[in-house]
Amino acid sequence: MQKLMMIVLWALASAMVIMLITLPISLETQLVAGMSVLFAMMILKLLRPDGIWRLIALAFGTAIVMRYVYWRSTSTLPPLNQPENFIPGFLLYLAEMYSVLMLALSLFVVAQPLAPRPARVRSADDDLPSVDVFIPTYNEEPELLANTMAAAKAMDYPPDKLTVWLLDDGGTLQKRNSEKIGEANAAERRHAELQKLAADLGVIYLTRDRNEHAKAGNLNNGLLHSRGELVAVFDADHAPARDFLQETVGYFGEDPRLFLVQTPHFFLNPDPVERNLRTFEKMPSENEMFYGVIQRGLDKWNASFFCGSAAVLRRGALMETDGFSGISITEDCETAVELHSRGWNSIYVDKPLIAGLQPATFASFIGQRSRWAQGMMQILRFRFPPMKRGLSLAQRLCYASSTLFWLFPFPRTIFLIAPLFYLFFDLQIFTASGGEFLAYTLTYMIVNLMMQNYLYGAFRWPWISELYEYVQTVHLLPAVVSVIVNPRKPTFKVTAKDESIATSRISEIGMPFFIIFGVLVLGVAMTVYKVYAEPFKADVTLVVGGWNIINLIIAGCALGVVSERGEKAASRRVKVSRRCDFKIGNQWLKGTIEDVSVNGARVLVFGAGMDEFAKGNVSELRFKRFADGTEGVLPVTVRNFERTADSIAVGCHYFPSEANHHRLIADLLFANSRQWEQFQLSRRGNPGLIRGTVRFLRLALFQTYRGLFYLWRSIRSKPASTEVATKVAERRA
């Protein structure tokens, strides 16, 4: 009854707002109303940007967006009898309406993200269900796998109820019997090596005959051989923290229909965009918007979905659908859709409990995104969540939001090209005067940015979404088109995460960005020319030119994204501050481990002289394990050292020779999930629209310069750069 009343009340409010919004009011009133709303939103943001006030501010924004849509639909489309204007004009209109639709869906999804859940109280050991941990692998290096397996084994859980499985798809019978002798030998070697490593770490090694259905098939093979009530899945590079199962398993006892507990993916290293822009330390990562807000929002509507790793699933539920679904190349989301539609529930725990690696190069980053985009398109095509039976209305909307999002390359492309239509070909694809642009479009754009800021402020800074979408669009557009044309064609490609970039260079797929940038610069030149040559339409020219300049700024920033920086440290360092002993000669000296990475650590050693160190020395590092308090000794080699105020800072490289050493490295790196959380929190913070825009402008300016500088350098030394490119290409192959 109360529900019905709430719906009626809300429908009434909406109807009234819509009625007011669709009045054909004058330009002057629109301007005044737009300004009042902007003003109200600003005041609300300054005073109380949360709770009910946030919803009121969003209602304000919605009103302006709806007014824009109404105006855009009723007064700006070119006449039908001018097809040369109408067709591109209508495409632009569709692109804008798509953006508005996505905004509407986002509003629904993140209307009220669930607050982080309180920590679980550990229940008695006897009640705990048995857990199988799956670590699917395809071509990852054994060292990487060793860390992950060690971390998985080190999880705080009764050992008799925890089984860790290494599911190797790189050493299958099919691979080992390959016609290509080289590949067959490599697979054989890998099979043997991993088998031994797994055995050393107490992990069960499992492979299969044929590589069918890629990752989904591999996981299903694991299901076939295991018995645990719950299944935890970690990607090869996703090492869990000790408390992973403590934080997640408890929920399954509370809800017998729960099929999934998903946790965020936390990354130790920057993605290529962050690395090349140097924003990793300062700015929230791209995925934090998804894991920090969107998944929490989905969780409110019981629509949080499986992201392929860092999750616990219920075997009983998976059995209902014969394991993981494998029609699409994003088996994770597909499985979740299927189970949600069968009435199973999911929850999301907003606490980083695993740490993984981002792809290192821009090319592999694009490869990863292509897989997601294509997979989501396949789900849209084969499962069509908005109309799927069994899903609640809210879930349908949530899945619509998640899948339709990946159509963004189309509108992005149109937004990029549309101003050029006017500047170069004089096409009138948006019939409005300069004044109308100001009163409607500009207010709409500002309100849009403000709404984004309201929704994602601390997790996504202004213009960063636009940048990410743009850098992906250039290569994602063909990928999405191909999957739409040929939905069964794409195959699962594993994203390479172990590459590194030795020298600074332009990404091998970066050239289109420079070409686009050049065209946009021409557009600016054309704007200037037109303003002087055709003063009678200077107002529209200036508006369109301004739009083109926004595109140019983003495109300029993207030049920096595709200009890969050379890197000394191969992987992300995590600050830890742990007491340790460092061995020099036969003497143990007191020290502090300052930061660690997957390859090495930086240790402050006290009471030693500079002359006691030498590059390449083999030494040992002794520290107490976080897990059980026992001491362990890890062999390291000294890579560099320098004097600080009262100590010597030593950079050292792990030198593991036995399985136990991997456990120590995993303990150093992954034992404490709190340190990841702290790192994430240190980057979060809402700079606000104006400060965020200024920052972005500064960034874009510098990155444009850097991109052009790289281009100039690569032209000057053409042969050298092609050599690097081929090298990388070989590695990837």
Partner: protein, 783 residues
């Protein structure tokens, strides 16, 4: 009205054999009226069943005692005091009414004109077309002095009834090719030297009652009715006199009509004048030499000649005032329109052909139906216009937009930077820049035209193309003569009127100006308050009511009320001098009581108009220095968004009482009355003379169009008009409630009260936010 006139013509043609110098027009007062009142276009001839027993109606051949001048008779044809054809292309079309005798007579046309010296005679033409036949096609070659053109009208071209005249000019500059130079081109037609001449001197004599439609204009474009009413001072006579004046005004329907009411006159009617004599038979005995037959027994309407008054006097009489009223009523019957029947067009042909269509809602009109033909043009600036009418409850000024779907083309030589502009009532309302070179055919190009400048009644919409070309930039000798078509507007273009908000407002003099609102819609008689003892006041009131009736397209009943107290809750019109106006009326209309004493004392001395002087100084100082830049930005904002300080007012304060300035000679004010049930309108001046003169100016076509807002003042010395907009407006429902109309009314109100819209959005958004919060609290996971 036109139809009714035609019917009347048929009736009389049927009675044709009996037609002689006199045509008594008689009918019984009641019986026939009640059976035929539904529409003015009677399908059956009224007179045929009109005669009641004992009421003789047969026309008597009166002796033709009145000599008519033997000189050829003239009829002036220019319906306005000034008539200028400006620019490279100009065209004016209107119609004149001819009696059958005039149509049958041999005739010629005279055209007196003068043109600007810069008009190149060898390539400029002046053309006159009558009923589709070109009569004059002559070079424009009369700079300096006025000269005349004369052409004989072929026999059979003229017809009884309305005849269409078109004067068209095509002018080119002698030397200059700039757009600006086209503004220097003008040809002025002299109204006093432009006329039809009928060979038959008797053609000017009217024989039928409806021949009064041929009253025409005098040499300065005005029409005057000398209304002789011996009993004009009697209160009972007033409604009849007013009704008669309205009927005559509606029949003649000339643009500048005024009434001179007097108790007696000896003046024969001049060109453009008509004598209308009303009274009981005994009253008229002292005025007319011969009374029309039957006037002692029955209501009688007749067109008679009189030795003293000259030919063609309309006499309305009867044995008693009741009978006279009946006669007046039967005359009115011919032109009146029942309230529930909407006009489909405004009868404008005496000054603009074709009749202007009335648009009560969504409509699509082809240019060809609006009087615009396909127009090819080879000059620099071409302007063509049409008119549409909207009712007084038009309420879309703040938000509305109409659309012109323009079919046009321009040639390769037209350069980008040219434009097509649309003007509504001479205010710029839309601009379409031509942005592509190489010529283009525009097919139904939508041009959105703001309705901001629309007003009730007739609205002129002009389309002007301003064409720049390379040839004009070079401007080689003789370049202005080039006759290669540059631009064409096709008559397949359309004017699209959307559904718009309809609600009446008071006070709004614009409604009175447009369609006589609200008096034109009243089903009760309007109270008319005036000083009957003064012929000037009575003339002024009659002139005003005739004008209102013409605007309303129907007769408006009046009654005379003595006390202001009886007026509460009624529609009323006050035509009084300021000192005679009751204080309670002034207070209700927002006019300061001190003006009763102070106004008029300074009117004699011509004081400088402060506002005009201030504007001049502001114009002179505009644009200089940084302050100029700021004010230019302000102007841009104002121009683009129409945002002024006023926009940000929510609650309108009550305006201080208005005191007319010394340079104002006539004041028109309107307001809802104290009871809030009706509208009071006051027309006042310091003296009766000023009131009479001012009324002529007010009711002239140009003056009447200036009427708007809450108060409008006219300055006869300076010719300036100033207006005060209404601060508080009452809405009057004019159409049955419908949601879509309500929505549009809200749109218009909110568009003119921007801050209120902002406030409404704010309140509703807060409500929506709270409702959403409630919804989110009820649905989905909460914890």
């Amino acid at each position: 009205m036109k139809r009714s006139a035609c019917t009347l013509g048929i009736i009389l043609a049927m009675a044709g054999t009996a037609v002689a110098q006199m045509q008594p027009f008689d009918m019984s007062p009641e019986r026939s009226l009640s059976s035929e009142t539904s529409t003015p276009s009677l399908s059956k001839p009224v007179p045929s069943e009109a005669p009641a027993p004992g009421m003789p109606v047969e026309p008597l051949a009166a002796p033709q005692t009145v000599p008519v001048s033997t000189e050829p008779a003239r009829r002036y044809i220019i319906p306005s005091p000034e008539f200028v054809l400006a620019g490279e292309h100009a065209r004016r079309s209107w119609s004149i009414y001819l009696t059958p005798e005039q149509a049958a007579s041999g005739a010629s046309i005279n055209l007196g004109y003068q043109n600007a010296i810069v008009v190149a005679p060898e390539i400029s033409r002046l053309r006159v077309t009558l009923n589709g036949t070109r009569l004059i096609d002559s070079p424009v070659a009369s700079p300096g002095t006025s000269s005349g053109l004369k052409a004989d009208i072929p026999d059979g071209l003229l017809r009884a009834g309305l005849n269409d005249i078109t004067i068209e000019s095509s002018q080119r500059h002698r030397t200059d090719c700039t757009i600006e130079s086209t503004y220097e081109l003008w040809t002025q037609i002299e109204p006093s030297e432009t006329f039809l001449t009928f060979d038959n001197p008797d053609a000017m004599r009217w024989r039928r009652v409806e021949d009064i439609r041929a009253v025409g204009v005098n040499g300065s474009g005005r029409t005057t009715f000398n209304l002789v009413a011996p009993s004009m001072q009697q209160a009972t006579a007033t409604p009849g006199i007013v009704r008669l004046a309205q009927s005559v005004a509606l029949m003649a329907n000339m643009p500048n009509q005024s009434f001179d009411v007097s108790e007696a006159t000896t003046r024969p009617a001049m060109q453009g004048d008509a004598n209308v004599i009303v009274g009981t038979a005994s009253d008229l005995a002292g005025i007319l030499t011969t009374l029309p037959p039957g006037s002692e027994t029955a209501p009688t309407i007749a067109m008679i000649d009189d030795p003293r008054l000259g030919p063609s006097n309309l006499v309305v009489t009867g044995p008693t005032w009741e009978m006279v009223s009946a006669a007046v009523g039967s005359l009115g019957q011919q032109v009146d329109r029942p309230l529930e029947i909407q006009r489909t067009y405004l009868a404008t042909r005496p000054w603009r052909t074709p009749d202007v269509p009335m648009l009560f809602g969504a409509a699509r009109l082809k240019f060809s139906d609006l009087g615009i033909g396909t127009l090819e043009f080879s000059g620099r600036r071409v302007r063509t216009d049409f008119a549409v009418g909207v009712p007084a409850d038009f309420y879309a000024n703040a938000y509305g937009e109409t659309t012109i779907l323009l079919d046009a083309a321009y040639s390769q030589e037209v350069l980008p930077g040219s434009s097509i502009d649309v003007y509504v009532n001479d205010n710029i309302a839309a601009t379409v820049p031509i942005t592509t070179s190489g010529g283009e055919i525009l097919r139904h190009l939508p041009i959105k035209v703001t309705m901001r400048h629309f007003k009730p009644g007739e609205n002129t919409i002009a389309i002007e193309a301003v064409l720049r070309t390379k040839a004009d930039e070079v401007c080689a000798p003789g370049a202005t003569a080039l006759d290669n078509g540059r631009f064409v507007i096709f008559d397949s273009s359309e004017f699209v009127m959307p559904d718009y908000a309809r609600i009446g407002r008071t006070p709004e003099l614009g409604g009175l100006s447009g369609t006589g609102f609200p008096y034109g819609r009243a089903d009760n008689p309007v109270a008319l308050v005036m000083d009957r003892t003064q012929p000037e006041t009575l003339s002024a009131a009659t002139t005003l009511l005739a004008r209102i009736a013409v605007q309303a397209g129907r007769l408006i009943d009046v009654d005379t009320v003595a006390s202001a107290a009886a007026l509460v809750g009624r529609n009323a019109l006050f035509v009084t001098t300021i000192s005679q106006t009751p204080p309670v009326v002034l207070a209700q209309l927002g006019i300061g009581d001190e003006s009763r004493a102070s106004w008029g004392e300074t009117v004699a001395s011509i004081r400088p108009d402060t506002q005009t002087t201030f504007d001049q100084w502001r114009d002179r100082l505009r644009g200089s220095g940084w302050r100029g830049q700021v004010s230019r930005f302000e102007e841009w904002v104002n121009r683009t968004f129409n945002v002024t300080v006023d926009t940000f007012r929510i609650f309108r304060s009550e305006a201080p009482p208005f005191v007319p300035g010394g340079n104002a000679s006539l004041l028109v004010a309107s307001n809802f009355n104290a009871g809030g049930e009706g509208t009071w309108t006051l027309v006042t001046a310091p003296t009766v003379g000023a009131l009479r003169e001012g009324m002529d100016e007010l009711t002239s076509q140009s003056g009447w169009a200036e009427l708007r807002g809450h108060i409008t003042t006219f300055g006869s010395a300076t010719g300036s008009v100033s207006r005060i907009p209404a601060e508080q407006i009452e809405f009057i429902e004019t159409v049955p409630y419908s949601f879509s109309n309500f929505r549009l009314i809200a749109a218009n109100w909110l568009s003119s009260n921007a801050l209120a819209y902002g406030l409404a959005v704010t309140v509703l958004c807060i409500f929506l936010g709270l409702a959403t919060a409630g919804l989110l609290g009820t649905f989905g996971r909460r914890r």
